[in-house]
Subunit: 754 residues, 2 copies
């Protein structure tokens, strides 16, 4: 029965001790769970304080909370949109400046034969911008690096990743992503918007910021994990909505990541927030682009208007094949990126200066690669076909422009639009092919750098490149067919590639449908994405799941692994359990909190200890008390012996006051005589925690955790004596083994060393 | 502590006894729950037979099941689309025939002054068609009457409504809706498609039909409530998708109604089914309309192409007001329909001939009203503006047509399109106004008749009428404004009206967005719908919830009522509990099954009976056994004394064989000597049923039921002795009181007499 892994230590660990650690991928290759991640607590502690508060406040309070929730969601949507606008406008200004200068020097130097000058200029622009981005993502706030989608996924799944929803993270993210896009790297600004939305939601809903030491005192009743999670899912949805102009896609994104806590009114509220976000973004960006009130800019990423996006049903096999190619390329992308991440963890680690160095090298390489391509490939087209602002002539004849120059001298979003909408014959196959290969490799190298960076744009752009190639091939093969449109194939390729990398399902389809603004093209996109996902899943996981696995985050899958019904609670749970008596001595409490890392402690009555029970501890379950509650009680001196206790009222607001950052036990000042006092835990503990019998199987435990958002599940014996506690990490150890034929379940280790 | 209502009887009742009863609304005004509805059982019974089967079959079996699920969903999507096509084409043929004849006679009689002939012809067409529809919905299968959406909602919520997913119901529904639409009633064919999809899903996924006595023997492993529910939600989504050309809306519809069991791969599968449904429908209908391979017919309901659906943000207040009007009108609609439903229950009841009579009267009245309007209102417009096929001249000049004739001589879907797309000035305000009033009243009268009938079209059509009026008013007020387009306001009005009636939220918005094919108009639609819902909710419930309440279905809301944390398990549960011993005498089992109506029985060990326990029964919880399992065991003669038991193997397939219609205990043949035998229940019972402590509060019980899809929840004492059982009906009694100020929870009665 005892199959505990060597490194396994009991249960959940207090984050206080780990705040200095940065969240980085682990060198143990995704087979070890880190002990340092806390779970969020979605269970309501129905103690007598809560009941009293509810009784006192009554129905008007419930009504007020309902209205506040809508109000907060509206603010979240608007604020997310504004942040998106600031990022977008800054990038627009910076890139316009950069490419204007570059174009001027290139056009001039091509005559004066000083092409080294624009090259050096380009490289220095990139490197300078990227240094700022790398400082944001490596030194200022390491959790702001990357796209942020894995972190938001983990949060919605119920894992508290330190510092992921702080104001400082938002600032680092916003500034960083602006400069990494402006720095010409193969990154996008869309993924980071999801993270930004989540941070904004967490901040707005709490009505205070611990970092800024501001507490405006409103929305105090939203200061609990459960309410905060609802708002964060709304913020993430608003972020997706702003990024892609996709309010429905935003709702579905949050849904895919957190469906276990879904309910109707929350869905509707999230949709409202997403709509507000799209509306505000549209209003501001339309005004910025000189069309106030026109609402022509639906999202940050605009695919442009597809008017003639029809398909014949005979094309479906082609889309199927393209989905397959996308899956293969995506799996290849993920595999290379995985190897690179492991290499990085081993040789770069957490050293910020090395991260900055690497980012600088990538920035310089990107500029070099671009310049070499523009210099060596002479793909000339007549001016006038392409709407590019900074097209350069290079070695082309008068009245012509260099197509590679046009692709490189614009933001990647604009390049995606070029592949989608440029008329047939705008590019030579060789230039598209070389662009694809170079950009694909650059994107692999770039994702994982210590800079805020999105993955959607590189995925879409490389996909659009090879999709366009497919379209050009089909045009050559069937020159008279009406349905051949290279732009359409570029769109399908973009979807296939992105689907092959991220393996998102419903939400990605809807996001792409909304971004193209064409509903009738849904089926082709879906067929492509589903094929890409299946083909890719045959080889490895999606890149976000890979990153989560590398970081050792104890994320819970949707279901228990197959064939795990023969794994029972005693194999899953942690034991022996540290318990408290209903009336406990302060010394005991302090000692336990100082020496143990657990966060939840069953409260038991030692009435009739039955020696036949499993485990060493015994006593009938009376309730569950959390570390944060105990610390608050100690701080509030809720001692039975305290003469002032009867007159002083300990209420829910005392427990909410320090949320979410409770002091560590070492910060609580207690005198030696306090140690002999006692605390009556009964009014404060959760009197009816969810518990299971020891013969419960893993799938049933899993269902309880996912369905109810639990943090602790008490395992009791046949006579209701506590024998163990199951936490998220105990459960996350069991996961479906990949490609293992018969055996469906593999067991991970839990380590503090990740 | 004991607050049990007078009429309350214990727990869940076996449906076998109630199969002859038809599902009709109750005369007790929505304040009583009917005892006759069973719950579905979504909990997996992890007994040793299941474990053995899993071990034997291993991983390849899980893989095969995964592939089968996709295959089945594909078939469901295609089959739903085909049924939709058959209905659509039949309606098209019947109405073309009807209106061609009517037009011929009208045009002829206007010259020969014999207008009574076309009127009588019209009335007889309608009455004849409606008689067929009424026979389908009243005599053949009463559960096929109405839109079916309330029934599907209940099913997805976990209530088994007798005969709701049978083949006979599908046939009655399909034939009935064809003839009720062709009969010119104020009904649509869209709502019934949701029900049709659900029936198809239930049928296809089981690979057998009990009604048709066919068992093709495949998909045997999907024969359980849990798997069936997943497919039914897919079928409902495919139905929505086919009806509105809205695959995403379909997924969201299923999600809104059943989110508690959602997971990622299921969502994706449902989306796939919906896409297949839309694709097949499109393929068939395009071919039928002479454009094979063009994919121009996305759904049954086609709003037509909106090319210029723009809005200025200054219009948002107008949309807000229109939402308010929609909410008011919707609440008025629901209130009148509610009164009418109660009147019907009292004076018509279940008498099929009276239902047919009423439907005939409505059909004749509809024709009369239409004829009077065409006859009296002379609204003439020049021919050529309106694409109507059967426009009539009536008293108009040559080269003109009667606009009311055009509105009435087509299907309601086509009339909706007329309001959306007819150029400004196509109608006179008086004709639109009178059409609105007449159609509104007819729609109220029609919904609730004993015919299959959808509510979407009447809602959209009346809304489009008053929306168009608003648009005409605005055109008159701001004749130079570019944004005034009567068609746009007709669309907003249609959304507001429908939203005010059905109060669906996210899914309805997305359905309308997909049906218009215009994503940028999402925000106005959403603002309209949300206002309509809020305004409407102030007065009463949505019409589907009203019907469910009238029928006394024990549906579970999303959350426990507010302020219900002080209601504890003993107030909720049913007790005393009938229990069995692990090894039980056959006589006891048979007696209990014959005299009790319960469906689940805790298995307890009478070891140390403690007299201080609550309730009369005592003994430690060992497991839970279902009525259906006991009946199978008796049928299989799984007696300990049976000499053949050791050699004969009782396996899961024996339990699945009779699913979902197990014989009644009276149909099991047992000899008198069998009565003295015993059965060992331990290998067959669920060894770890979910249980709660008796001090658990209502919100926690609620969360368990909704989150896990439970049917029985065992309440145990502090020493794990069984003290009660909570079933869905016990829980559904507690619901949020409407408009009651302070008191948030009201308690319903449970009655067998509903």
């Amino acid at each position: 029965m005892e199959r505990r892994p060597l490194l396994h230590i009991r249960g959940s660990i207090n984050t206080d001790e780990f705040l200095d650690d940065s969240v980085k991928v682990s060198p143990d290759c995704g087979k070890v769970l880190s002990a340092k991640y806390e779970s969020l607590d979605y269970d309501v502690c129905e103690n007598s304080l809560l009941l009293e508060e509810e009784r006192r406040r009554g129905y008007p309070y419930i009504l007020r909370m309902g209205i506040s929730r809508w109000l907060v969601m509206c603010i979240i949507g608007a604020a997310t949109a504004l942040v998106a606008c600031v990022i977008d406008i800054s990038i627009d200004q910076l890139t316009t400046l950069k490419y204007r200068v570059l174009k001027k020097f290139t056009d001039q130097c091509i005559l004066e034969n000083c092409l080294v000058t624009p090259f050096l200029l380009w490289a220095s622009f990139n490197v300078c911008f990227v240094i700022i981005a790398a400082i944001c993502g490596s030194c200022v706030e390491p959790v702001a690096a990357g796209s942020g989608i894995p972190q938001v996924k983990c949060y919605l799944n119920g894992v508290k990743i330190p510092r992921v929803v702080r104001i400082k993270t938002l600032l680092a993210k916003a500034v960083g992503v602006t400069f990494s896009v402006a720095g010409g790297l193969a990154v996008g600004k869309e993924g980071p918007m999801v993270h930004s939305g989540a941070v904004i939601a967490a901040g707005v809903s709490q009505g205070k910021s611990t970092s800024l030491k501001q507490d405006i005192g409103i929305f105090e009743y939203f200061r609990e994990d459960r309410e905060k999670r609802d708002f964060v899912s709304g913020g993430a949805a608003a972020g997706v909505a702003a990024a892609f102009g996709a309010p429905v896609g935003g709702v579905l994104f949050s849904l895919e990541e957190g469906a276990s806590f879904w309910n109707q009114s929350l869905t509707w509220r999230i949709f409202f927030g997403s709509m507000v976000s799209v509306f505000v973004l549209n209003l501001v960006l339309s005004a910025y682009h000189g069309q106030p009130g026109q609402l022509a800019y639906a999202g940050l990423l605009n695919f442009g208007k597809f008017d003639t996006l029809n398909y014949d049903w005979l094309e479906l096999p082609i889309f199927l094949c393209m989905g397959g190619i996308g899956g293969l390329l995506g799996a290849f992308f993920n595999q290379l990126n995985y190897k690179l991440s492991k290499f990085r963890m081993r040789h770069i680690g957490h050293r910020a200066w090395m991260q900055v160095m690497e980012a600088m090298i990538v920035a310089a390489t990107t500029a070099t690669a671009g310049f070499i391509m523009i210099y060596t490939i002479d793909d000339c087209r007549p001016i006038g076909q392409d709407p590019n602002k900074f097209s350069i002539q290079m070695f082309c004849g008068d009245g012509e422009y260099n197509t590679l120059g046009a692709l490189w001298f614009q933001t990647p979003e604009a390049s995606v639009r070029s592949f989608f909408h440029d008329p047939p014959g705008s590019h030579h196959p060789v230039s598209v092919m070389s662009f694809f290969i170079v950009y694909f490799l650059l994107a692999i190298w770039t994702y994982g750098l210590g800079i805020p960076s999105g993955l959607f744009i590189p995925g879409l752009l490389t996909g659009a490149a090879w999709g366009r190639l497919v379209g050009m091939g089909l045009s050559a093969a069937f020159p008279t067919a009406a349905w051949v449109d290279p732009g359409k194939y570029a769109l399908v390729g973009a979807g296939a590639m992105l689907g092959g990398i991220v393996r998102m399902t419903l939400s990605l389809t809807v996001i792409l449908i909304e971004a193209t603004g064409n509903i009738s093209f849904g089926l082709p996109l879906m067929i492509t994405l589903i094929t890409a996902k299946w083909v890719g899943d045959y080889f490895n996981e999606g890149i976000y799941d890979m990153q989560i696995g590398l970081a050792g985050v104890p994320i819970l899958a949707w279901e228990a692994p197959p064939l795990s019904r023969t794994i029972y609670a005693p194999q899953v749970m942690s034991h022996p359990v540290i318990t408290f008596s209903p009336v406990e001595k302060v010394r005991n409490i302090v000692n336990v909190l100082k020496t143990e890392v657990h966060n939840g402690f069953p409260v038991v009555e030692h009435s009739s200890c039955d020696s036949e029970e499993l485990g060493r501890s015994c006593g009938r379950l009376r309730g569950l008390i959390l570390r944060s509650q105990l610390i608050t009680l100690l701080q509030q001196r809720a001692f039975n012996e305290e003469p002032a206790l009867l007159s002083r009222h300990i209420a829910m607001k005392n427990f909410r006051a320090s949320y979410p950052r409770y002091p560590s036990i070492r910060e609580v000042e207690l005198k030696e005589e306090d140690m002999e006092h006692t605390i009556d835990l009964r009014p404060y503990m959760n009197p009816s925690p969810y518990s299971i019998q020891h013969n419960t199987s893993l799938p049933r435990i899993y269902l309880l955790f996912r369905g109810l958002g639990l943090r602790h599940l008490v395992v009791v014996s046949d006579s209701n004596q506590v024998v163990g506690v199951v936490t998220r990490k105990d459960l996350a150890r069991f996961r479906a083994g990949h490609h293992r034929g018969q055996s469906g379940t593999e067991e991970l280790l839990i380590s503090e060393r990740v």
